[in-house]
Amino acid sequence: MKKTIVGLLCMVGLAACEGIDCTLNNVVALNIGFYDANGAGVRLADTLMVTAAGTDSIIFNSGTGVEALGLPMSYERDADTLVFSFKGQDEEEAREMTLIVKKTNQWHTESPDCPVSAFHHLTGIERKGGEGFIDSVVVVNEDVNYAALENIRIYLHTAD
């Protein structure tokens, strides 16, 4: 009987413990990869900067040798406009491509102790500019959430 009582007390003690058990990987980002015309991943030779159109935010600044990147998305907008600026070492002006990413948004909560996130489902993508150095832009995974999968592939113009 003593063992039973000790066991029960231990269990009550264990049950009383509580930690903050939020998801460790709690970053929501639009993950973009760069590929050559043959579908192989490439590192950009240019310096890349990405800005959020309509705001004064630079969301990716002066990246060199970029193969992939994750960009924050708006929590509530129906579409985010991303301006990609590619600049080579010998170039005076950057070449620009604009991506309009259309999406639906879904709030995600876990616990009062954990940060609130917005998940997204991509519904379409529209490219403006980039002719001559971008072949195509393709959505490969519509869901932007904690899974951190690649969402968009940008195929560079690497073959004539």
Binding site: T4, V12, P72, Q106, W107, H108, P112
Partner: protein, 240 residues
């Protein structure tokens, strides 16, 4: 950690079972059989009001009613109000809910003597349908900006069903008044929640998850007892 806690609970149940059965074998005295129907009891959980008074993360105020057959079998119905109003420890999120819950089940008393003490094991099926709110008044989009400040996700709907495995004991305090306690391992069977995410707390279940532990401290009142009939039938050998 969960496996450890689960195995600990199962071990304790087995130890309780063995202790009860061994104790019964050692004392192989002739124990008169209790009548088929031994009465009705109502009970109230004292732990819930205490949890509410000390501003615990959540509190459950519940009452129950049970039948007594042969002083061994106790079909039971429990109902209560579960509530939680909690702010995040490091961020200004706030979760709030208040809803009823219900449980039905059966306890078995392993004490073969009808001396007023009971060592119980039992199971419950619990369910609740509830609404919950999630708010963060300081929430804003740091990069893209937002037309409004703050996040309000009120009136989210949730439903939950779960099973409980109960171990407990009780004793007679005076006449028709008893005091007892239970500890409970709770395993979620099914839940449907809002697309926004799971609730922090499920009424009647506890902190949300696939399983959790809980407990009650019960004040029990025997009503409509058949004590006199039992005494008469058994020659006054038993208290019950």
């Amino acid at each position: 950690m969960l496996h450890l806690r689960t195995s600990g609970f199962i071990c304790t149940l087995l130890i309780s079972l063995c202790a009860a059965s061994l104790g019964a074998k050692e004392r192989e005295e002739v124990i008169p059989k209790a009548p088929l129907f031994c009465g009705v009891a109502v009970e109230a959980d004292l732990a819930g009001p205490v949890m509410k008074a000390v501003s615990s993360r959540f509190a459950q105020m519940e009452v129950g009613a049970r039948l007594n057959f042969r002083d061994h079998y106790f079909p039971i119905f429990e109902m209560g109000i579960g509530e939680s109003d909690r702010e995040g420890q490091e961020i200004s999120n706030r979760f709030k809910t208040r809803a009823p819950y219900f449980r039905v089940g059966m306890d078995y008393n392993f004490n073969r003597k009808h001396n007023g003490n009971r060592l119980m094991l039992g199971v419950r099926y619990g369910f609740s349908s509830f609404k919950y709110d999630f708010q963060n008044p300081d929430f804003e989009d740091p990069i893209w900006g937002s037309a409004r400040r703050g996040l309000v996700l009120d009136g989210q709907r949730g439903r939950a069903q779960w099973a409980e495995f109960v171990a407990g004991c009780e004793t007679k305090l005076w006449s028709f008044i008893r005091l007892g306690w239970t500890i409970r391992f709770k395993a979620r069977i099914h839940q449907s929640v809002s697309d926004f995410g799971e609730p922090y707390y499920t009424p009647g279940f506890g902190k949300n998850g696939s399983s959790t532990f809980g407990g009650t401290v019960n004040l029990i009142f025997d009503v409509g007892r058949t004590t006199k009939k039992v005494r008469h039938k058994e020659g006054g050998k038993n208290d019950e």
